[in-house]
């Protein structure tokens, strides 16, 4: 059968199965299992109302447990075992020890740290700048659309787009990559193969993610800027503050919370960055990052132990953000 047709069939049947599950389980609860009639009608209604939420949540919870919660534990277990033909062998921390001795791992960690230091800061910074500036001009919304647009482009698509920018041709030919054309125009001596030049290539890969994430930061920060009470701004203007003071002393402090949210959201994206590196350099020329290192170990070296250990490192790095998020959510609901 054609996969598209199969897809259509699956959609309809899954939707039908889901809806009938919710409908029938409800009906069963109210009419057969705990009917709201007879001697126990009141008790039944109360009981049914206590069970119903779980009926509504059951499919979601089941999928969350199988697809997210269980893998965390299973990955932890895999990181402590070695795979053999006869079965898994418990090896304690041997995988971690092996990983720590791997020079590629440290390259990935230090690159990841560099990504973490640069990408969230610049994306948030550019986003704030764009949000602040576009809110003050007539064609601001059109400008916003353009800056926001890379959000819709896949990391792989972005990698192709930027690879053309970074392209290098021999010196006796016309350059087709914008970066080299500019480099030569401004007095560079010879075209550079940028993505094979350590250190610079890392920055150039980061540019791709900054280009994508700035729009996200801009949209959220622009909403936050517009929510600032007018009185605080008017008061500052009457007191004679200049535009710089107005921005840095009055506006930015009032949206500190939102800036933090944007920063952490981009931080998580950065930690998981995989596609860009995979498509542009595949971790060569000193550009390895954790997510790609993990992919290498899991699917090329077929080493599930070390691969899982590196995923645990990733998990460890997001844990502070996880705890912070959960705490915030609990504070809010109280």
């Amino acid at each position: 059968m054609h996969p598209a047709l199969q897809g259509l069939l699956t959609i309809t049947s899954v939707v039908a199965v889901c809806l009938s599950y919710y409908y029938l389980s409800n009906w069963f609860l109210d009419n057969v299992f705990l009917p709201a009639r007879g001697k126990y009608s009141n008790r039944n209604i109360n009981l049914a109302n206590q069970i119903r939420p779980w009926l509504f949540m059951f499919p979601a919870l089941l999928i969350l447990l199988v697809y997210l919660a269980y893998p965390v534990l299973e990955t932890l277990r895999l990181s402590l075992t070695e795979r053999h033909a006869y079965g898994d062998e418990w090896v304690g921390l041997a995988n971690y020890a092996q990983m720590i001795k791997d020079q590629k791992f440290w390259e990935a960690v230090s690159n990841n740290m560099m990504w973490l230091a640069i990408v969230p800061a610049l994306s948030t910074g550019f986003g704030l700048l764009a949000a602040h500036l576009t809110d003050r001009i007539g064609w601001g919304n059109a400008a916003k659309s353009i800056i926001f647009m890379p959000m819709a482009i896949s990391f792989v698509g972005a990698a192709v787009i930027w690879k053309l920018v970074y392209d290098a041709r021999p010196i006796d030919q016309d350059q087709i990559g914008l970066l080299n054309a500019l480099y030569l125009f401004f007095g560079g001596d010879a075209p550079q193969t940028w993505i094979t030049k350590p250190f610079w290539n890392n920055l150039l890969l980061m540019v791709v993610l900054i280009w994508i994430q700035t729009g996200f930061a801009m949209v959220i920060l622009s909403a936050a800027l517009r929510n600032i009470p007018e009185e605080t701004i008017e008061a500052a203007i009457l007191d004679g503050s200049n535009p710089w003071q107005l921005f840095f002393r009055i506006k930015v402090p009032q949206i500190k919370g939102t800036i933090l949210v944007v920063w952490t959201t981009i931080t998580i994206t950065v930690l998981k960055v995989f596609d860009i590196v995979f498509a542009m350099t595949n971790g060569h020329w000193n550009t390895q990052v954790l997510a790609n290192y993990m992919f290498d170990k899991l699917f090329r070296a077929n080493d599930w132990g070390v691969g899982s250990a590196s995923v645990m490192v990733l998990m460890l790095l997001v844990t502070p953000i996880l705890v912070w998020n959960v705490n915030n959510a609990r504070k809010e609901s109280q």
Partner: protein, 382 residues
């Protein structure tokens, strides 16, 4: 406000210019690829895409027809034809037959050929080679041309990538695969999440706050965690590496955000309506279907856009959970990575394929931007 702050006109200009610079910086990389996808392989590899937009003076090397095409006219051997195959022919400013002197002649002049015979070239690219002896060799004669090239674009790349059955890049098939992955992977999680979100927003039961916290926690769990354990599970229960596996995986990875977004939105719905219908005897199922779902349309739309963009653009999940040795189920992102590796130099195929994969998300983005922005705001500003 603006007249208070922006009374300095120099400052206003600075704002306009800064925004213009940002917009240009953000647009140019994509524009480069778009322009390139409408150029021929020759054009892409000999000049920058920015030169394609205006008439430019360029030095190009062309070849005449091969000696095997020569005719005998009045006892002389003749090869003639047009240098440029395109309809909009460039205007030739100067030309030559040797790489040391590429602009020795002007159009209309005749040059002596090193191997005997002579060639004349008109401004429109028509050439006429004549010799007493037959032309030899397997390749045509090189002609160096300095010409002003008008902008010229072609749809051939798209025709080739999408419709040519012999095409190696197989983008049309990959397009269908991506579509087959993305649509169910968008619809299934919405349905499941909506019911759960309703329960978490409007039903009273012990442990509700804890569950919300659990879901917030799952929001940031890296999906890399799930790859090996789930792949093992899929293999064990017989799902294998097919579309069903990808749909389920995307559903799992999308659910936390879906539940979180929808719950945040549903909590804000007016309490009166829901309480009143409860009093009027509506069951939870009816309230959900008749009141909550229609009212939550903006949040449902926002999440569908997120999930659609995410599943359409995803590489990792598809690479791990969808594999078929015959290559029937390769998605577009995976195909692009393959092309980047094997055809790193074939920019006409690469640029066009990339655009084919980008165009659907861009359409979704520009038509439904309003919902996307609203969704982002419910999702992260708290």
């Amino acid at each position: 406000m603006n007249n208070l702050v922006g009374h300095k006109s120099s400052l206003r200009w600075a704002v306009h210019i800064s925004v213009a610079v940002l917009v240009v910086l953000w647009l140019i990389p994509t524009l480069g690829l778009l322009v390139s996808s409408f150029r021929t392989a020759d054009q892409i590899s000999t000049s920058g895409w920015w030169q394609a937009l205006v008439t430019t003076e360029q030095n190009v090397i062309m070849r005449t027809a091969k000696p095997q095409d020569q005719q005998i006219i009045d006892g002389k051997y003749v090869i003639e034809g047009m240098l440029f195959s395109s309809k909009k022919s460039p205007e030739i400013l100067a030309w030559g037959v040797s790489s040391i002197a590429i602009d020795d002649y002007i159009p209309g002049e005749t040059a002596k050929l090193r191997k005997g015979g002579e060639i004349s070239l008109r401004g429109d690219g028509y050439y006429h080679m004549v010799s007493d002896k037959p032309f030899k060799g397997s390749r045509g004669t090189r002609v160096f041309v300095k010409a002003s090239m008008p902008p010229e674009f072609t749809l051939d790349n798209y025709r080739n990538v999408l419709f040519d059955p012999a095409n190696v890049s197989g983008m049309a098939k990959a397009f269908l695969s991506t579509l087959t992955v993305a649509i169910p992977a968008t619809i299934i999680p919405i349905l499941i999440a909506a019911f759960a979100a309703y329960a978490l927003a409007w039903m009273q039961f012990p442990g509700r706050a804890l569950l919300v916290a659990f879901i917030v926690g799952l929001l940031v769990v890296p999906l890399q965690m799930a790859l090996i354990p789930l792949l093992k599970l899929h293999m064990q229960i017989g799902i294998g590496k097919g579309f069903l596996g990808v749909w389920l995986a995307h559903t799992g990875f999308g659910l936390p955000l879906a539940i979180y977004l929808l719950r945040n939105y549903m909590v804000g719905l007016p309490k009166d309506i829901i309480e009143n219908s409860r009093i009027d005897g509506a069951t939870d199922f009816q309230i959900f279907m008749k009141i909550i779902l229609p009212l939550s349309f903006p949040a449902l739309a926002a999440f569908s856009i997120f999930q659609f963009l995410w599943t359409w653009n995803d590489l990792l999940v598809a690479k791990v959970f969808l594999f078929d040795s015959s290559g029937q189920t390769v998605v577009m992102t995976a195909k692009l990575v393959e092309l980047l590796g094997s055809k790193g130099g074939n920019w006409e195929i690469l640029a066009t394929s990339a655009f084919v994969s980008i165009v659907v998300p861009l359409i979704v983005f520009f038509t439904l931007q309003k919902y996307l922005v609203r969704g982002l705001l419910t999702g992260s500003v708290k």
